[in-house]
């Protein structure tokens, strides 16, 4: 018999096959694998898309309308954004958001790194301390705010009683004073989050090679020199990650301020997220609130992208 000519050599289990006919089953296998992958992702992604992605997209549309409580959402183009330029309250909120970030970011990084370095010494009770430092982060913002507001009471509050032991004269009015409300909020924010970042730093410190420290010690490097020249460079990836996270978190600040001061006194602690809330849910100017929300969105994304680019350039 001559070489058999069959339509589908693969079906006969022959050792060769011509390419076009093998491609078909392979594509269907690929398709099947893709389908399997999608079914895994889909249940979560569906919820994520509907509850997060679509609202984010809608936000941009609404920011270009005069949507209000009566339900009309007429296209107004960039009118809302033009209005932002002359809106004093918006300027205050923008300024306060940066005020909070400018202090919260460095304070939190310094405090959490300090705690992590302290704990990285092999001390007995370190595990207990880690739990303690982390505790403020898991407690509810309402309880936290309520307690701190009482601690900050200007006249009889424990904090001013304590300060009064050392300093005379007028004591800070904290949450009821225009000048001191923001510092009070920053203190509480730092207290609440430093345990979280401490944990990230601790994990980072585990990656610093002990031999490097040993070598530096033998070369006569002081504690400070070793921190500066050995620990910090090794900690750079962690430092970058923590900085990005603290930055995002501080621009997001919302519930802490809403519960502690409601943006007051006056507008002393009004931040962007709360201004969105006021415009949207209290004054029902939903279109205008959306344009403020777009600004907040762009700031958060923008700052993060800049940080990533900067980090990449330093890596290169």
């Amino acid at each position: 018999m001559a070489t058999p000519v069959v339509d589908n050599p693969g079906a006969l289990g022959l050792p060769y096959s011509d390419p076009p006919q093998r491609r078909a089953p392979r594509t269907s296998l690929k398709l099947r694998n893709a389908l399997v992958g999608w079914t895994f992702v889909l249940p979560n992604f569906a919820g994520f898309a509907v509850l997060t992605l679509i609202p984010v997209l809608l936000l941009f549309y609404y920011s270009l309308t005069n949507w209000n409580i009566f339900g009309n959402a007429d296209w107004v183009g960039l009118d809302n954004y033009a209005r932002l330029i002359g809106d004093k309250s918006f300027h205050v909120a923008l300024g306060n958001t940066f005020y909070y970030a400018a202090f919260h970011i460095p304070l939190t990084i310094a405090a959490s790194l300090g705690l992590a370095l302290l704990l990285n010494q092999k001390l007995r009770g370190a595990a207990f301390f880690r739990t303690v430092a982390f505790f403020p982060y898991v407690t509810s913002i309402v309880a936290v705010a309520v307690v701190w507001n009482m601690l900050f009471s200007p006249e009889y509050g424990p904090i001013n009683q304590f300060i009064g032991l050392f300093v005379g004269g007028e004591l800070p009015g904290w949450t009821v004073s225009k000048d001191w409300a923001m510092p009070a909020v920053i203190i509480v924010g730092t207290w609440r989050y430093m345990g979280y970042y401490m944990l990230l730093f601790l994990a980072g410190l585990q990656t610093v090679p002990a031999e490097l420290h040993e070598a530096a010690r033998i070369d006569g490097a002081s504690v400070w020199q070793r921190f500066w020249n050995v620990t910090l460079p090794c900690l750079r990836p962690t430092m970058f990650f923590v900085t990005v996270m603290v930055t995002i978190e501080s621009f997001k600040v919302f519930d802490l301020i809403l519960v502690m001061t409601e943006g007051g006194p006056g507008q002393a602690t009004l931040v962007l997220s709360q201004y969105i809330w006021q415009k949207g849910f209290e004054q029902f100017e939903l279109g205008y609130a959306s344009s403020v929300a777009v600004v907040l969105f762009l700031i958060c994304i923008g700052v993060t992208v800049v940080q990533f680019l900067y980090n990449k350039r330093r890596d290169a």
Binding site: N44, G47, L51, L53, F129, V138, T139, G195, K252, A293
Partner: protein, 279 residues
């Protein structure tokens, strides 16, 4: 000569311990003050100098709060929401994480990037359109809204994906050759192997949902739907001058979380540390 370094080291140790104790005391002080005040009368809460030991211990605050506030309703609502959210988050999160970590499909990496991107997006920026959407479906002012709000976050997907990636692919390969389907691999191999990560995710999700304040604030209007955070906040408004009672409520709102956290803090800390480091 030899004595100097050891003496120095000893002082160093002592200083480190003092530092640690001082920091711990400072961090815990607000909680200590909260608990102490919850056992006082209103007049005793603010005294100069501070009364560190209540005299007498006023335990009745812990009875009164159940009468004056709707503690039972609040706890029941919060518990319902937290349990449902945790189950949804853990199941869909670990399921999706398997898809991202161990299967290949076009668009997979782009999709995952989308999840990561939302870390930088504040909820405040899209809460208005989200509220509008859920309201139009008639879900505002129901507990379902809070469940939906929390259940599909990116966090669960991250955490589980990080963990699954540490499980060798060869294990999945072997299972595939043995004829197990992908779903079978997830259910019979991945889930049992990822118990520590599942525990982290469970605790973190439960605690976050329990503590959520903004979601309920926007969505829940009826008294009988209030969660513990919302209830406590409104209670503070209504009983403005009852400092001691407010502290009692705060203690009660923190207590369940304190217990959950202390029981699972090992997992909790592990979970945060692993998601954090690799980002």
């Amino acid at each position: 000569m030899a004595a100097r370094p050891t003496a120095l080291r000893k002082t160093g140790r002592v200083l480190l311990y003092l530092g640690m104790i001082a920091a711990a005391a400072g961090i815990l002080l607000p909680f200590a003050w909260m608990v102490i005040s919850s056992l006082k009368t209103n007049n005793q809460v603010f005294t100069a100098p501070i009364e560190w030991v209540p005299d007498p211990f006023r335990w009745s605050n812990y009875v009164d709060i159940w009468i004056k506030g709707d503690m039972v309703t609040w706890v029941r609502n919060t518990m319902t929401v937290s349990v449902v959210v945790t189950v949804l988050q853990v199941v869909t999160g670990s399921f999706a994480a398997y898809g991202f970590a161990k299967t290949r499909f076009p668009g997979r990496d782009a999709l995952f990037l989308l999840y990561i991107g939302t870390i930088a997006v504040p909820w405040a920026s899209y809460m208005i359109p989200q509220f509008q959407m859920l309201s139009s479906w008639g879900l505002a002012n129901t507990l379902y809204s809070i469940m939906l709000l929390q259940a599909f976050g990116a966090f669960g997907v991250f955490l589980m994906k990080q963990y699954y990636e540490s499980i060798p692919d060869s294990l999945c390969e072997a299972a595939r050759i043995d004829g197990l389907s992908e779903y079978g691999i997830w259910w019979r191999i991945m889930l049992p192997l990822s118990v520590p990560a599942l525990a982290s995710l469970t605790i973190i999700t439960f605690v976050t949902t329990w503590n959520d304040y903004l979601g309920p604030l926007i969505y829940l209007r009826d008294r009988e739907l209030w969660t513990i955070q919302l209830g406590l906040q409104r209670f503070v408004g209504d009983y403005n001058a009852e400092h001691a009672l407010i502290m009692t409520g705060s203690v009660l709102s923190v207590l369940p979380i304190a217990i959950v956290f202390l029981l699972g803090q090992r997992y909790f800390i592990q979970g945060i540390a692993t998601t954090g480091v690799k980002g």
